[in-house]
Symmetry: C2
Subunit: 512 residues, 2 copies
C-alpha cells in the first residue's frame, strides 16, 4: 500500500453498512482492522477528514468521531496543522501484535494458539477436581435440602420480600458493611441466643454466604502458613478442600472420630500444638452422632491449655428429631470458639446467607478477609431475612420443616429396609439432620455407585471422599428434601437395582 | 451433696417457672447446670423419674423428656433396671470444664480468659488493616456509585424482581451451579460481545459477586505458591490486598504506570517470567488513562512468548464520556485473557453480581475455586438480572447513567476549580469512569486528610495506599454518585476547608 497523501485506496478497508447505523463506530472498526493487518503502517499519513468524508459519502462529523476514537485508543496521532497519522508507537516489531505482519484478516478468536503453551497451575487441577466432586445434583431424591411443597417457604418469603424491597432501607444501595446489615445481625444474635445457647452481641455476628464461607474465612483468619489444624476424619469435603487449596495441606491433621465424636486424646497425641480444631459437635459430618459431654470438656480443656481456636460448624442443628438441640460449645467458651451456622439448608440453599459468631478480637480480621473475597453479601435479601426472623416466620418454618423431614426420614428408612438387602447396604444410626449415611459392603466403589445412580436418575454423593485415604469406607450420603412418598420409593428401588447389579459384577469378577 | 438414693435435695437445683412453659427443657437446663457446677457428680445415681416427678410436682413425662435429652447429650447414662446416673465419662479432671470445680454458678461469658492467651495470626492483623482501609463510607459525596435519583434503577428493578421471583425458575431452590444461572450467563455473553468486543460463549462465563471476587478467583486459580505476578503501580487496593494475604506477597511485582498505561518493558526487565499480569487497560485504576495500542500489543506479545495469563479488569468501561468504549484485550487474545466485569457499579453495588470470562480450559478450575469460597451466587437475583438485560433495561440504564455521570463530573470539576486553590490540589486528566483523582500538594498526608474529611462529612479515599511504598503520591479518590449540585458544592467547600486548614498546619510546623 502506497504512502502518498490522498489515500484513494482507503475505501478498500471495507464497506460501511448504512442500514446498521453507528457509522462513526463502523469506520473506526474498519480503520483499526486495517492498522492491525498492516495495511496502514505506523507513521502513515491519513487523508484529511474532509477528503475522506467525501470519498466515503459520509458526513465529516462521522469521520471526526472515528478519528477521535482511534486517537484516544492510541491507533492514530494528530498534530495541529500536520494532519492525522497512524501512531508511530505502533511499530513495536512485526510479530508483537496478534495479527502483526499478517496480510489476511482473521478474527482474533481464530488466531492460532500462543507461542508458549498455556500451562495450568498445580492448584488449577486441584480446583477442577473439587468442581467435579461438587457438581450440582438435579433436584431429585436424594439431593439434600431441595425445597419443595411443604419445605419451601415460597409464598411467605416472596410476599415479605416484595414488601421489604419496597422500603428505602432494602432498595438498591451502594457498598455496604462487610459485616452485614445491622438488622440481620441483631436478628441472628437473638436467634442463636435463644435456640443454641450462643453467647453473643450483634457486634460479634458476621453475615456470611453460608457455612462454606464461614469455614473459608476461619481458615484465612486463624491459620498462618505453617500452622497445624485438627480436622475430623471423616469430615465435610468443603473444609478439607479449603485447607488443601490454601497452602495448609501439610498442616491438616486428620483426627479420628468414634461413637462419641472426635477423639481428643488421639488429636493431642498427633498434634498437641495445633492452632485450631474444626469440629461438628452437634452432629458429626457425615456420621451424625453428637460429641459427648466428656469429649466436649476435653476439647475445650485442650484448646484452653494451648490457646487454640475451635471452629464449631453447627450445621443442621435445627433438625433434631428427638429432644431439643444440644447447647453449643460456643456457649461454654465464647472467647475461643468461632461458631458457624447457615440459613441455606433450613430455608433454601440458593439464598446463600449464613453467619459466623466470632470472639470480639477477631471481628476486624473476619471483615477484612471478607472484603478481599467479595466485599459483602447482597443487601436486599439480608433485610428480607431479618424481617422473616423478626416476624416469627423462621421459627414457624423450622417447626413445620422439622415435622416434614422427620416424616420423610422415617419413610426413607422404611423404604430402604424393604427394598435394599442388609448384606449390600445398612443405615448409620442417628436421630438428626438432613441426610442419612447408607454404608455399603466392603469393597464397593462408592464413587462408581454414585455415578451409576446419578445416571439412573438418583442423586447421591459418595462417603469415601470425606475420609482420609487410609480410613476410607464406602457409603452414600442420602439427602432429605421435600420429596413425595412415591419419589422416595422409586429412587430407593432404583438404587437397589444399581447396588444389586454392582454386587453381581463383583461376584462375577471374583468367580472369573 | 450426699450420694444416697432418694435425692430430696434435688429441688435445690433451682426453680421451675410454671408460667414459662417448656418444663422438660427447664428441668434439663437445671440438671445440666448442677452437673457442670459439680453438685451432681460423675457416677451419682439420680432419683427415679416417678419420685422426681412427684417431688417437683410435674408429670413423669416431663422428667422423662429431660432425662432423655441429657442422656443424648452425654450428661446422664441409663442402664436397664439400674436407674439413671450422671455419666462416669464426665470425670475428666477437675479443671477440664469451663466451670469444673467451681461451686458458684457463673454464666459462661463471664468466665475469666483462657489458660493460654489467644494469639492472633499474623494474617489476622493484615486482614484487620484491610478492613480499616475498606470501611464503608456513608452515602454522601464522594462515596463512589451511590445510586440516588436518576442513577438508581429502583422502580424498574423492583417491579421486574417481583415478577421474576414469582416464576418457578427464580423461586427458592436448592444448591445451584457454581458457574451461575444459564439465563444470566447467556445474557452476559451477549452483552460483552456487543459492548466490549469480547469473544466468548456462555460456557466461558462465570458469574461472580463482582470484580473483587473475579480477582480473588484469578489469583487462586492462575498462581502457584512461588509464581510471580505483575501488578500495576498504582493499582486497586483490592488486588494488592489479595496477593498480600494469600501467600503471594513476595511474588507481587509492582510495574510502573506512565501516561500510556503499564510500562511493559519495565515489567519484562523486572520479571520476564511472571505467570500473570493484572491490568486495567480501559481505564487505569486509579489514574484513569487507557492503555495505548502499542502497549497493548507489547503486553500481548510478552504474554504469548511466556505463556503468561492476562487478567483484564475492565471496571467502569461503560462510562466513557468521549467516543465509544475501548475494545477489550480479551477480544485480541481470548485464549490468554481472563476478562473481569461487574454490574455492581453501573447498576448498584449492593447487588453483588459480576462476571469472569475465562478461556475454556480454566472453567472447571474457576468453578472449583468458587465452590470452596461460597458455593455460588444467590440464584433469584441472577434471574432478575438476566431478565433486566434481556429486556433492554440495562442498555437504557447505562445510557441514562452515562449522561448523569458526565453531568455530575462536569459539575464536580467546575466546583473544584472554583473553591479549591490550584496549589493545594489539582485534578488528574481523564475522560471516563466513576471517579476522579484529586492530587494533593507534595508532603500532604492523604490518609489524614481523608480521615479529617470523613469526620467533616465528606467521604473520600486516599490514593497513596494504591501505590507501592517507594512511589506513593498523595491524592484523593472522589467518587461520582447521583448527588445533587448542592450536595457536591457543599462537599467541595468542606473539602477545601479541610485542605486549607491542613496546609496552614504544615506551614506553621515548617515555620516553627
Amino acid at each position: 500500500m502506497a504512502r502518498h497523501r490522498h489515500a484513494t485506496e482507503l475505501p478498500s478497508i471495507g464497506k460501511l453498512d448504512r442500514c446498521a447505523g453507528q457509522l462513526g463506530r463502523q469506520l473506526s472498526t474498519l480503520l483499526r482492522e486495517a492498522i492491525r493487518r498492516g495495511e496502514l503502517k505506523p507513521g502513515e499519513l491519513l487523508p484529511s477528514t474532509r477528503h475522506l468524508a467525501s470519498s466515503l459519502g459520509v458526513s465529516r462529523g462521522t469521520v471526526l468521531e472515528a478519528f477521535e476514537q482511534l486517537i484516544a485508543e492510541g491507533y492514530l496521532e494528530a498534530q495541529a496543522g500536520a494532519g492525522t497519522r497512524v501512531a508511530a508507537a505502533l511499530s513495536v516489531g512485526p510479530n508483537d501484535g496478534p495479527h502483526g505482519g499478517s496480510k489476511t484478516r482473521a478474527p482474533a478468536r481464530d488466531v492460532a494458539g500462543p507461542a508458549a503453551p498455556m500451562r495450568l497451575s498445580t492448584r488449577a487441577a486441584a480446583f477442577a477436581e473439587i468442581s467435579r466432586q461438587f457438581a450440582p445434583l438435579p433436584p431429585v431424591p436424594f439431593a439434600v435440602s431441595v425445597p419443595m411443597g411443604p419445605t419451601a417457604p415460597d409464598d411467605v418469603w416472596r410476599r415479605l420480600g416484595n414488601r421489604t424491597r419496597a422500603l428505602r432501607a432494602a432498595a438498591p444501595s451502594g457498598y455496604d458493611d462487610p459485616q452485614g446489615v445491622p438488622a440481620l445481625r441483631s436478628a441472628i444474635a437473638d436467634y442463636v441466643r435463644r435456640s443454641r445457647s450462643v453467647h453473643c452481641t450483634p457486634e460479634q455476628v458476621i453475615v456470611t454466604t453460608g457455612t462454606q464461607q464461614g469455614l473459608y474465612l476461619s481458615c484465612q483468619v486463624l491459620l498462618d502458613t505453617n500452622d497445624l489444624a485438627w480436622v475430623e476424619d471423616p469430615a465435610y469435603r468443603g473444609i478439607t478442600g479449603i485447607l488443601e487449596s490454601t497452602g495448609h495441606q501439610r498442616g491438616m491433621v486428620r483426627v479420628p472420630v468414634d461413637e462419641a465424636g472426635i477423639d481428643v486424646e488421639a488429636g493431642r497425641a498427633m498434634a498437641e500444638h495445633a492452632r485450631a480444631a474444626f469440629v461438628t459437635p452437634s452432629h458429626q459430618y457425615p456420621l451424625g452422632m453428637p460429641l459427648s459431654m466428656a469429649r466436649r470438656n476435653a476439647l475445650l480443656a485442650w484448646a484452653r491449655a494451648n490457646g487454640a481456636w475451635i471452629v464449631e460448624d453447627d450445621y443442621d442443628s435445627e433438625l433434631r428429631y428427638v429432644g431439643h438441640p444440644f447447647p453449643s460449645l460456643q456457649g461454654l467458651a465464647p472467647e475461643l470458639v468461632v461458631y458457624l451456622g447457615t440459613f441455606s439448608k433450613i430455608l433454601f440453599p440458593s439464598l446463600r446467607l449464613g453467619y459466623a459468631i466470632v470472639p470480639p478480637p477477631l471481628v476486624p480480621a473476619f471483615c477484612g478477609a471478607r472484603v478481599l473475597i467479595d466485599r459483602h453479601s447482597p443487601s436486599a435479601d439480608q433485610h428480607v431475612l431479618a424481617a422473616f426472623i423478626d416476624e416469627g416466620h423462621l421459627d414457624r418454618h423450622i417447626r413445620r420443616v422439622r415435622l416434614v423431614y422427620a416424616d420423610r426420614r422415617q419413610h426413607l428408612i422404611a423404604a430402604i429396609a424393604r427394598w435394599i438387602p442388609d448384606e449390600l447396604a445398612w443405615l448409620q444410626p442417628g436421630d438428626q439432620g438432613m441426610h442419612l449415611v447408607l454404608w455399603l459392603a466392603e469393597g464397593t466403589d462408592d464413587q462408581r455407585i454414585a455415578s451409576l445412580a446419578v445416571e439412573a436418575g438418583v442423586a447421591v454423593r459418595p462417603v469415601s471422599p470425606t475420609y482420609s485415604a487410609a480410613n476410607a469406607r464406602p457409603g452414600l450420603v442420602l439427602g432429605l428434601g421435600g420429596y413425595s412418598d412415591e419419589q422416595i420409593d422409586a429412587a430407593v428401588k432404583t438404587l437397589a437395582k444399581v447396588l444389586n447389579s454392582a454386587a453381581r459384577g463383583r461376584a462375577a469378577s471374583r468367580a472369573g
